[in-house]
Structures are given as structure tokens and as C-alpha cells.
């Protein structure tokens, strides 16, 4: 047996890291500093003759097909390795739906016959890229903004905040502003809105945002945007106000800075000050020029107001810079994590074939310590084997 294990060790292939985002998928090898490819999470569907997004699914079967096609694209078009007998590190959100995780596990283990899968949450992986013991990870994705406190390698589950304040919120606002300023309904497709956002938009500082809201500031310079069908002018307002929904406090304290402060408030009292001094803003949307600075200004302002003033007693906010581009920070964490322990923590295929169950934090089966009396009660109630 020992000899056999030795051979397996030598043959261990470099594992891959998969971060299947809503808009973009990051894929590459463990131990490398950047993903090999960052591509839209979509594939060409031959039967429907259109690009199909991985996250557009109505049932498990459709999701299964989407994942099979997407992984085929990643393995055979981009990274060019056999999936078989190779481990995978899956970067996922803590709020990833169970059906999605289980379908992905089936596709990886049964369809692609990978030898092991390690599931890791993106917040913890982002914290890994810092090497700091405590980090408050503010991740701005395509759909949601998630705020997770990671304290000594553990995400504080009861404090997780998630708000629909990702790229979609910005795109919707940008479309509204463009329609308003061009005086017509433009019906711009998503990729054009994204392109305008990426190239023209920025986030003004708090002082300027207040001036603009009061109507007492000259508008920013407009930018002509050329398109094949119809060129349009991106007004100054559209350029600098598209990201305002992230900071709008009118509805129930659901703005991005509120989410950050609420997360801190829900964390253990002795970790709060450290969390505020170890903020990491990441995710593709964080690359918008000026966004970090604005968030910092809003946080410093908001913390002086009730209810945070009395509850938090936090005075300083400090920000980290991850050694990765904003859209790939969690991926780099996965690459570090997978390379460090050589995939020892991965769920092996034969274990999955036996149990058909993934470890998941909301499941008591996986979070109850082995010594807890509940296990005895369970064994009594339902004798195993």
C-alpha cells in the first residue's frame, strides 16, 4: 500500500483552480500568480445557435449541461489539459446555492472524472492573499456585494452581508442615465453597457457627490462613444453618477457602506477594531476608478452617525491592497491554497462516490463536532449499518 501511495505522489498533476463567476470565469493552475484565462461565463450553444450563460438555467439538468459545456471550453480551449485524474480547487461564494454546488460536484466527479475537489469560499481565499490574520473582505461581484469578516481563517457566518449592489446595479443606473440624457430609450445590450462603464465611468469623491446632489456643480465632461450601429454621447452625469446606487442610503440602510458597518457590528466585539483596520475591497467592480476612495470616505463619515456611532466605536479604517487584479483576487487565493497543501484537503472522488454529499456550513452534519452528544443520539435513533 505504501508503495502505491508513493507512485500516486509522483504522478500528482498540478491542480487547476476554477472560479465560476456570474459574468466572468477565472481558470488556471495552482501555484501561479494569475489565472490562465478570464473569459465570459458563457458558451456557444449549437442547438439554440446562441451564446448561453452558465447561470441561465431553469432546472438541474440544464445547469448540468451548461457546466459540462463551460468546463469543456475551459479545459480543451484554454488551459489544454485533461481533466481526468487532476484535482480542482473550486472558488465559491459562501452563499452559493446547494443545487449549484451539488451539480458542479457531479459534473466534476462523474462527467470529468477529476480525482479530487477542494471547495473554498472566496472570502477566506481573498484573506489568504494578504497573509493578515484578520480581514474584512468586501467583494463586489456581478450581481451582489458581499461583505464577509474573516477572523483567523474563519469567516464569521452570522455577520455575512449581501446586497444586490454589484455590476448589475451600476449597469441599470447607467442605462437609465443614458436614456435620460439622450432623450430616447436606447435598449443597450449588457456588453455595451459594461463597455461604457469600464471605459467612461468613474466614482466621484464624497464632497463632489454632495455638490452634484445639491445641483451646485458643473457636470463632468461628456465622452463621445462610437459604435458600429449608432454613436452616442456619454454625458458627464452618466459617467460619474452610474455607481451612485451603491451609496444611496434612502432605503433601509442598504447601501454598500452600511453593509460594511453592519457586518462589523455583528462581529465579536474584540475583533471589530481590527476588522475596520483590515478592509480589502475586491471583485471586478472594485476596479472602477475612484470607487475605493469613495467607499473609504463614506465609511469614515457614516461611522460618526447613529446607530453606528454608539454601537461600533471604531475610529480608523485601513485598507489592504491584494497582490492581484481586483477580478482575480479570490482566484489567486485559491491558487495559493491549492499549492500549499498539495490538495490534501480535497474531497476525493471515491469518497464522493460513497457519500454523495458535500460538506456545507449550513448542514449540521458537517459543522457539529465529532464529540457532540447529538451524534450519539443520532446513532441511537437510526442505527447505522
Amino acid at each position: 500500500m505504501a508503495l502505491y501511495e508513493g507512485i500516486a505522489l509522483i504522478q500528482e498533476k498540478q491542480a487547476v483552480v476554477l472560479d465560476l463567476g456570474t459574468d466572468y470565469t477565472k481558470f488556471g493552475f495552482t501555484g501561479e500568480a494569475a489565472p490562465r484565462c478570464i473569459i465570459p461565463s458563457e458558451y456557444w450553444c449549437t442547438s439554440e445557435r446562441r451564446f448561453k450563460r452558465v447561470y441561465d438555467y431553469n432546472n438541474e439538468e440544464e445547469l448540468y449541461d451548461n457546466l459540462v459545456h463551460m468546463l469543456h471550453l475551459l479545459y480543451f480551449r484554454h488551459v489544454l489539459v485533461n481533466p481526468k485524474e487532476r484535482k480542482v480547487v473550486v472558488v465559491e461564494s459562501l452563499l452559493s446555492p446547494t443545487m449549484f454546488r451539488e451539480t458542479l460536484a457531479k459534473v466534476l466527479f462523474l462527467h470529468y472524472e477529476v480525482s479530487g475537489v477542494m471547495w473554498a469560499d472566496s472570502a477566506r481565499l481573498c484573506a489568504l492573499t494578504l497573509g493578515a490574520p484578520v480581514a474584512l473582505v468586501v467583494s463586489l461581484g456581478a450581481r451582489d456585494a458581499e461583505v464577509v469578516a474573516v477572523v483567523h481563517g474563519c469567516p464569521v457566518l452570522q455577520a455575512i452581508q449581501s446586497q444586490p449592489l454589484g455590476a448589475r446595479a451600476i449597469h441599470d443606473e447607467l442605462a437609465r442615465l443614458l436614456d435620460r440624457d439622450n432623450g430616447t430609450e436606447l435598449h443597450l445590450p449588457d456588453h455595451v453597457l459594461e463597455d461604457i462603464k469600464v471605459r467612461a465611468c468613474f466614482v466621484p469623491g464624497r464632497a463632489r457627490a454632495l455638490q452634484l446632489a445639491g445641483g451646485g456643480a458643473p457636470a463632468a465632461r461628456a465622452a463621445p462613444y462610437t459604435r458600429a450601429e449608432r454613436s452616442l454621447s456619454v454625458s458627464g452625469a452618466a459617467r460619474e453618477l452610474a455607481a451612485e446606487p451603491l451609496f444611496a442610503r434612502d432605503n433601509e440602510m442598504a447601501s454598500l457602506p452600511d453593509a460594511v458597518l453592519q457586518c462589523i457590528a455583528l462581529c465579536p466585539i474584540d475583533a471589530r477594531r481590527e476588522l475596520a483596520e483590515n478592509v480589502l475591497v475586491t471583485g471586478g467592480t472594485a476596479a472602477l476608478p475612484g470607487l475605493r476612495a469613495r467607499l473609504a470616505q463614506e465609511l469614515r463619515h457614516l461611522v460618526t452617525l447613529p446607530p453606528y456611532r454608539d454601537r461600533l466605536r471604531v475610529s480608523k479604517f485601513k485598507f489592504h491592497t491584494a497582490p492581484a487584479h481586483d477580478n482575480a483576487a479570490a482566484w489567486v487565493g485559491g491558487a495559493l491554497c491549492g499549492a500549499a497543501d498539495g490538495g490534501a484537503r480535497a474531497l476525493a472522488r471515491d469518497a464522493f462516490a460513497r457519500e454523495r454529499r458535500l460538506a456545507d456550513w449550513p448542514s449540521l452534519l458537517h459543522t457539529t463536532p465529532r464529540t457532540h452528544p447529538h451524534w450519539d443520539e443520532l446513532a441511537e435513533a437510526e442505527p447505522l449499518g
Partner: protein
Amino acid sequence: MAYLTQPDYIKYVCSCGQLKPITNLYFCRHCLKIRCGFCICHEVDSHYCANCLENMPSSEARLKKNRCSSCFDCPSCFHTLSTRATIAQPRQDPAAGDAKIENKQPKKMYYLSCFNCRWTSRDVGIPDQPVASGGWPERTNPFAARVNQLLDYYKAIAQQEKQEKLDRERKKFAIRGKYMNLTDKTGLTGAMARNIAGLASSESSSSAIANFVPSQASEEVEELPEDYHTQEVNLKQITSMRQRLRAAEWQPRSAARLQPAARALSVKRSQRCRACDHNLTKPEYNPGSVKFKIELLAYYHVPEVKIISYETVKPGETTALLLKLTNPTAHEMQVRLLQPQDVPEVEEREEPKSIEKSLEKSLNLEKDSSWSKVLQRRAALPTACAVRAPDAALTLAQRDDAAEYDDDPQHDTSDIIMWRKSNKLALRLQVATAAGAAPGGPARAALALQYSYRNTVPPAAAAPAPRDHTLYTTLVIHLGTVAE
């Protein structure tokens, strides 16, 4: 050509339940089943550059990160870049005097240029190179150094954890006194044992841990300049998302920072049947060749059905349908049309496997059976339209390339056979449509074929000569839309 340019009017049901045109299907001669890209196993066969058609061994491809060393893509429009030569005039050097200039020959210099969007390597200030084949400056990932530090740190921690665990276990065993281990018996110290095992000694791993500096948070956040909103913007100078992501390691925001991108390699794939592990396709190694060493396509083994013409389908009526059947094999084929529900259920029969195969299977337990259960689906067959299948055995002659020139059709026609020509047969059929078929909806009819198939796999030493099989396939015929 019709298969490339037109919609798929006829789809076959793959053994996994997917509906695909015959050109997308494979036929496993060992399982005698239709397979498709979804239910077979793909494998990387060889790496090559699709531009210069140069093969690259897999080990080298891994080292070069799957990039060709001589071809470059335009970072702006992703078209292939061309190398252009210019004659560089020796520069007038006033200090050197006139005599020297005459000795200097005009030198050929090279730069990269895109014929599609006119981007050149000079646009971003890359100096021209004296050799055509490269020497183009390579950029390194700005984060690589820090990521490597982190990697060393986490590896050291993982090592330390492993060591601590080992130590704990050894203590546990020592207390029990029941077990002896290598270090106790031979008196080796722990560090020596680690050296022998090729593991980093704990001293060096602890130095990696001790020297590690965690990321320092700062109160300063990079702010936009005060007058950012009044600055002139030229969106052409700012890269699009696609341009940034093409260079995932640098992701330049400014178009002036774009760099020629080494072209990504492609792979040739071989494909394998999952049930029996036999190859279904295996390409030739030469990148320039589009031929295969093994090519078990359904198109060569399964009778091909094409629509000649059809009457518009109307609810509650019977309409005519003309089909053409073709026998692609070198053996005569008996074909019978059936209703899909009359196809006998074939249980997934265990293929007799070699001893190694069954041993391997017993080692990795449920692998195969669990896999097919996940994938096996039942195709949703249309029921509104039904093809009236006459209960008659039709004989399809073998494929005969010489007969192609024999252009007068044989006239053994009957009420369903319209004409017959070498291995082809035209059938006159009726489609009965249910009265309840939704007008305007797609008109689709399912039809099953029973056909005889002669297996020509070279027989194993003991096995009998070519065997005849009766096989079934189900197909879905698209007949436009149901008329109002």
C-alpha cells in the same frame, strides 16, 4: 454542405438521450451504440499552433504556458500579427565624422503589425528588433514576487502542520508502546528523517514563516485627482474589457500599455467511449492534417435519413412526406420503420472486458455505473405527429462508389418505394397529425429504424467472424410549423 449551412431537420437520439444531427454523432463498434460529444470522454492528444502549424510536445507546451514562441496576436483586435521589415538608415552621428557613416550598411529591422486594425508594436513604443523571429520584450506579472512569497509562507505552514501532526501521532504511539517506528528503531533524529524523505527541514520552513511580512493596511486610499471630471477623455485610449482580459496577468487600462500577445496553442483531441474505453476518434499527429487514424462516425455506420420534401402539416390531417434513406456501410442492410414506442428496451449490457479492465473497475468501485445514471436521460419525443410506418422490410444495397456513375434508377418501386438507386432509397410516407396540434407550433415527428448491421471489428483470435446485429435508432424529423 447542407449539414453545415442549414438547420438540422433530422435529429437522432443518442444513447445518452441527447438529440443531435448525424454529423455530430459517433458510433462505437464495440458497444454498437450511438455516442455523442456529450457522453464520450475527451482527451488532449497533442498541442500545436494553429497559425504556424508547428507541433509542440506537451512538456514544452506546459513550460511555455501553452503559447507559441513565434506567433503573436494583436492585443487590440486579436487578429494575427505580421512581422514587417524596414530598412533602418544608420543615424547621422555628428561627432563621428563622415568617414564612418559610409561604412555603415543600412540594417534591416523588424516590427509587428496588424493588417486588420493597423496596430503596430511601434504604437506602444516597443523598439524594432534586429531579428525577425522575436526577441520581443516579455513582461512579467507585477504580482509574481509577492505571490511567490505567500506561496513559500503557506507551504511552510502546511509543512509545519504536517510535522506537528506526525509528532503528535508518534507521541501517541510511544505512549501506547505497542508500535515501533523507523526513527525510534534506528535512532535517527526527526530532522534527518525529514531530509531522507526529501522534505524541507523544519528550520528552513520556520525561517520562511519568520521572515514573512503580512500585507500592511494603509489609511491612504488612492483618490482620483481633484479635476478628474474636467479632464479630456478619449475612450479610444482606454482598453475594452476583452482587451484587458486577453492579458489576464497585466490587464492594462490604457491602450498605450497593450503588448503583442503570444498566440495561444490549440489541441488535437482524441475521443473515447466511456462504456468500453475504446477510441472513437484519434487524429493524425501532423497539425496540418485534418485526417484521423480512427474515425468512428455515425455517418459511416448508421443509415442516414434525409427529407426530400413534405406537405405542410395540418392539425387532424394526413400529409405526405418523402424521405431518402442511405446505407453508408459496405454491407447490405435490412431496414424496417417502426414507431418509437415499439423499440425494445435494451438494458445496458455489460461488455465482456479484459481482466485488467474488470480489475481496474473493481478498484474504483462504482465509477462507471454511477456515471451513466447521472447522464442517462430520456429524450422528450414529440407525439403530436406520427409517421405511418408500413410494416415492410426494406433492403438497402451496400455503398458502391462505382455505382455513383450509374445514373438510371432501378424501378422496383412499390406503393411506398418511390425510387431506388444503388445504396439509396426514396420512400413515400404519410404523416398523421393529431387534431389537437397547436397551430403555429413546431411540427415534429418521431420515427424509429430497425436496421441490420454487420460488425467488421477485426475479430479477436477466438471470436467468430463478422457478426450480424439488429440495431435500433430513433430520430426526430422537423417538418416546419403546424399550419393554421
